[in-house]
Symmetry: C2
Subunit: 681 residues, 2 copies
């Protein structure tokens, strides 16, 4: 080879390597390698089924499976598997059995993931039965393609082009969801446009449903309770109005003619200005049941949101409970009450919503927020599995000790016709789907926990890291540590010790504990939540205050009510605490607050260092993009710390302990910051 | 006392305390307490002199001296004292003797300062003879009241109002200078407007001189070499033109008729666009001598600046030497060559200008820059005494070992008709005079070192702190530590290891190592100075490079020339050094650079902490203002570190060592920063 040719070969080699090594995150955790013809010839993937989902499972294995022969079987008797699967190996063969076609698809992704994680897959025996029947994403996507609280670009759904043009990303989306067991999706924002139910839009919805079906994913829609009036031309939308009932009946029929496996409706009613049955003096039960009756013949579901609160003098944290508990037992069996994990609104940390422990004769489901509305958008690295687990593992003491929210919602405690769990999606049209590469982990973790809420945050993180980046042990160990602590870190630098909702108005990105709008709703003002004054800080929800504690079952009620027993990570949620209150650490409350904020900052600095050390393990593009996000995160963490400490210091009038990194901002300068952010992308 | 009255008294007490405790820095280090009538009645301040300066000294002691009786004596025989003084105590009396009236005034301030520092003053014996005859400030003040490189507001001199209106600050200024031994001032910018020599402006100058005289301060003026042509209407300003010589003769006469004790002229000629003798093919000596001859009859001085360089291919650092050394011995004895401490331009660290060791038959003086053109303006806390001392104590080896710049310039090595030292003032009309409260220390330190260059930076810092803030030992000890390290800190976060002039263009505030203006003068571009490439960084001034080392006397020449012996704090000044070069620490050059930048940042963080701890020792206003400046400084330090490390990393292609705080900025984002700063206030 001449020197010149060698030179060209060398350049080509470099180009190829660089290209192979450059990743943009678009493949998510599905970075499977195509099998070679050689391997392909050696093993067989067999099935007798001709179901499209089973054939899809077969094709995925044909393309990527490097192990033994596989046989895919449907066994209609094995109903106890639900849409899970059982894998047994004998000799050189893996046999996969499922009750439903989707089970085989899940199993296919299961073993492909194990293969990519480097697990032993020659002899592999496992049975997987999902924790929840319905594992659903909520897209807060508007029809104009903005996404409420979306931080990954515009909506995936290109409504204007549908149904004629079908973006390849629709199928990629379905595949990604199926690969982690998600089997349902609400396409549009809970603040729903009535237009979604027009024939024009329903044909667009049908186009998406047709793509998703093969992947085992059912489509749901958010509906506007006023639809009969707005698009039906009726006089009103009163649920007891026969015309209204008929309108819904016909609309449901129309939908099922287009989409026979349509999932159902999600409804945000009489909440934050949305219409609802109360507009006509009816109850939430009246509204939900009317829809439930219309959809019942098709086995459809109504997911009715409990996120309601009004600007009354009553503590906002108490209102959902007060509104819904009296309705317990009145809902149809195809209605499920969708309850946010915490009683306020997806804060960095909240206690669980007491409604979970209180409605004993009503199906309930948890709504988590995967998109980081209150957690630094797609700029901050925050792994949410620990937050999800914290709620699911919380003991509501509904039937004595051990009545965790997981057991209440998955049907263990009381049988539920269909159990469900929802996550507000963090997905947009960004190349990497979620804005922050690590935000993919939250989509992944939601799916994994919806499938099996017994999984540990750590195992999920490790699995995701191996699939998404590399199996290298050092990398996986160190980065797992970062992920696992990241939620506590954001709590620390944003609002530790039970502080909540001291965000900048409307966009909820930065700090604004001083926020106030004369004449505005008190329950949208930070001071409503922190109540800082010269004596102390925190929301008194004890018996001497708003008495929100009474909504919790014993022993929680007494535990939360007593400042000595209240968990310190919620102390300012339940108590107005003196600046000088001695904490368990021996520090005063003021010192403890300062210490938490500083720990948050120092931990982000540690994440920066850790990530920089990982440079050699990661492709250049994703390394750099994550490094850049961490730079934003550290600046924001310092901003949060300085803003909150300097502001609260105007009340505590105590020095910030000297062992803490000093503020670099002036309070007055921070108060002037007004970010030009909307509440959607 | 009723409760109500007690309450009012309490409030009044608080008000008085608060007011007493609020300070704005306007009093500088002159926070003397008026003596009570009781003390005043007990002791006498006597003098036979009726000289206004002596009477002023007497008055200051009458007002503030709490000690024994004082007698003030002039002894014209004691010429060896120069304008110093001798204090002896016998019994209950202090006797102060001086050769000149100003000496008694300096002595008065000396004992008042000792009194305020809490020193033993009952039995006090001391003799003080100043190191330099002329201790002069250079104001770079323009006639429109802007101040070139001024960061403390507009000029003190209100030219428009003069001579009719006399601001009380003129006398305060004179008093402050006298209190630290400064006895001369150049009122206007070296980039001089010819207008200053018009009769209109000379009457204004006279008004200031009349105020300053009592304080022992002589006025000097910067003159524009083209004045004869511009305001005299002559054909040219050629120094060999008889008409020109006559014009200057007459102008000098006119000045001395107004101001009999006028000091002389400061001249920036043929430098950065200023006119000069070279415009007519004459030398600097021709120009300086022509002016010297004109002013000689009045004992006036010509201070002729050596700061000259042209955009030739020759290393800028070599040009002043090349221009002036051939003229050695040609200057009149009332000409003194004013030389900046370093060969480039007041950088955070430079080696001394080799001219100091080379002109053996020419009077020389050092020009320091008190104003922080290259040291963070009045935003950064940088105590400059260590920088001043570093130059003064440098051994130039002009007559073998021990020929320090202090000894060359103070007349020890070779007799000088009048020795002098200049500092470019950092004073403006800000309430606290210098913008940063700690910048007062640099004015103070310049005066103290001009008086006695043997003083240590530490002693000056302690004295200044006691006078300016408090005598409390903890405060003085801790804050002295901060001050003493602060210059090295700014070197570390701006340009360690001999890096220089990588500032943002024109305003010289932030970093701009990438700075370039196609077609611009190379010697105004950062790359000209840092020469970073993939191999290394630094300016090769060795024998294999620009050979600037040859301008230094042995053993410095060899010491600087050899990378193994070159002091590491100047290594990149003299060498282009490989990124992998092993430093004395064992680190590579790249690691060492990173470590220095980080140390700079961490040290500023430590200053923040230290200052915050001092809250109880300091009045609220100055505490807060200094705290705020430190916040700017830490942000700037991080900015500098990130900008320089991220930029140099594009050449070194090595990771920033992981023990170092990670960058929080993106290089591309930093490159976009364009500050709307002018080069004057």
């Amino acid at each position: 080879m001449s020197l010149r040719r060698a030179h060209i070969v060398y350049i080509l080699f470099i180009l190829i390597c660089t290209q192979t090594f450059a990743e943009d995150g678009s493949q998510l955790w599905l970075r499977f390698e195509k099998v070679s013809a050689e391997i392909s010839a050696k093993r067989t993937i067999k099935t007798k089924s001709v179901d499209p989902t089973v054939l899809l499972a077969k094709q995925e294995l044909e393309d990527y499976w490097k192990g033994n022969n596989v046989e895919l079987l449907i066994d209609r008797k094995l109903t106890k598997l639900k849409d899970g699967f059982k894998i047994t190996s004998s000799g050189s063969k893996l046999q996969i059995v499922a009750n439903k076609p989707a089970g085989l698809l899940y199993a296919a992704y299961h073993i492909l993931q194990k293969q990519n994680e480097g697990a032993e897959i020659t002899h592999y025996n496992v049975e997987e039965i999902p924790s929840y029947d319905i594992r659903i994403l909520n897209h807060w996507d508007n029809l104009d393609r903005t996404v409420e609280r979306g931080y990954a670009g515009y909506s995936l759904w290109k409504w204007a082009e549908l149904p004629q043009v079908l973006s390849p990303r629709y199928e990629e989306y379905a595949r990604a969801n199926a690969s982690i067991g998600i089997n349902a999706t609400v396409l549009n924002n809970v603040n729903a446009s009535p237009q979604i139910l027009t024939p024009e839009y329903l044909t667009k919805v049908k186009a998406l449903a047709d793509i998703f079906r093969k992947y085992g994913i059912k489509v749901y829609l958010s509906v506007n309770f006023s639809s009969p009036k707005v698009i039906g031309g009726l006089e009103n939308s009163d649920p007891l109005n026969k015309d209204v009932q008929l309108w819904w009946k016909n609309k449901v029929k129309e939908i099922y003619q287009l989409i026979p496996d349509f999932g159902g409706f999600l409804v945000k009613a009489n909440s934050e200005g949305q219409p609802g049955p109360q507009d006509y003096g009816r109850t939430h039960a009246d509204g939900a049941n009317m829809l439930a009756d219309a959809i019942k013949p098709y086995s459809g579901m109504i997911m009715w949101r409990a996120f309601v609160y009004n600007p009354t003098k009553e503590d906002r944290a108490k209102q959902a409970y007060q509104e819904f508990v009296p309705l317990d037992g009145q809902f149809r069996d195809n209605v499920i009450i969708q309850i946010k994990n915490g009683p306020i609104d997806f804060q960095p940390r909240e206690p669980f919503t007491p409604l979970f422990g209180a409605m004993r004769n009503t199906a309930q489901m948890v709504e988590f927020q995967i998109t980081q509305e209150y957690l630094g958008f797609s700029n901050h690295l925050v792994y949410l599995a620990p937050l999800f687990k914290e709620t699911l593992d919380s003991d509501a003491y509904a039937d004595g000790a051990g009545t965790t929210i997981a057991k209440i919602t998955d049907g263990t405690v009381r049988k539920i016709s269909k159990s469900a769990i929802a996550g507000v999606a963090n997905i947009g049209e960004d190349v990497n789907w979620t804005g922050h590469h690590f935000a993919q982990a939250n989509w992944f973790a939601f799916g994994k926990l919806a499938w099996n809420h017994q999984l540990s945050s750590e195992d999920i993180a490790k699995e995701w890291l191996k699939l998404t980046f590399t199996k290298d042990e050092t990398f996986v160990k160190d980065v797992t540590d970062m992920m696992l602590t990241s939620r506590e870190t954001v709590v620390n630098y944003m609002m530790p010790l039970g502080l909540h909702h001291i965000f900048a108005f409307d966009h909820h990105y930065g700090p604004e504990p001083w926020g106030n709008m004369p004449g505005g709703r008190a329950d949208w003002m930070p001071w409503y939540y922190h109540n800082a004054n010269e004596k102390g800080v925190g929301f008194n929800r004890t018996t001497s205050g708003s008495n929100a504690v009474v909504q919790y079952n014993e022993p929680l009620r007494s535990l939360f009510n007593d400042i000595q027993t209240c968990p310190e990570n919620l102390i300012l949620w339940f108590h107005h605490v003196s600046w000088d209150h001695k904490m368990k650490s021996g520090l005063t409350l003021w010192e403890e607050i300062c210490t938490h904020y500083d720990r948050g900052v120092q931990d982000v600095r540690a994440y920066q260092r850790l990530w920089d050390k990982m440079e050699s393990y990661v492709d250049a593009q994703r390394f750099k993009e994550i490094q850049s996000k961490l730079k934003i995160q550290i600046k924001d963490a310092v901003w949060w710390k300085d803003a909150c400490l300097l502001y609260f210091q105007t009340f505590s009038r105590k020095p910030i302990p000297y062992y803490i990194e000093r503020p670099i901002h002036e309070l007055e300068e921070l108060k002037k910051i007004k970010l030009p952010l909307k509440h959607h992308n």
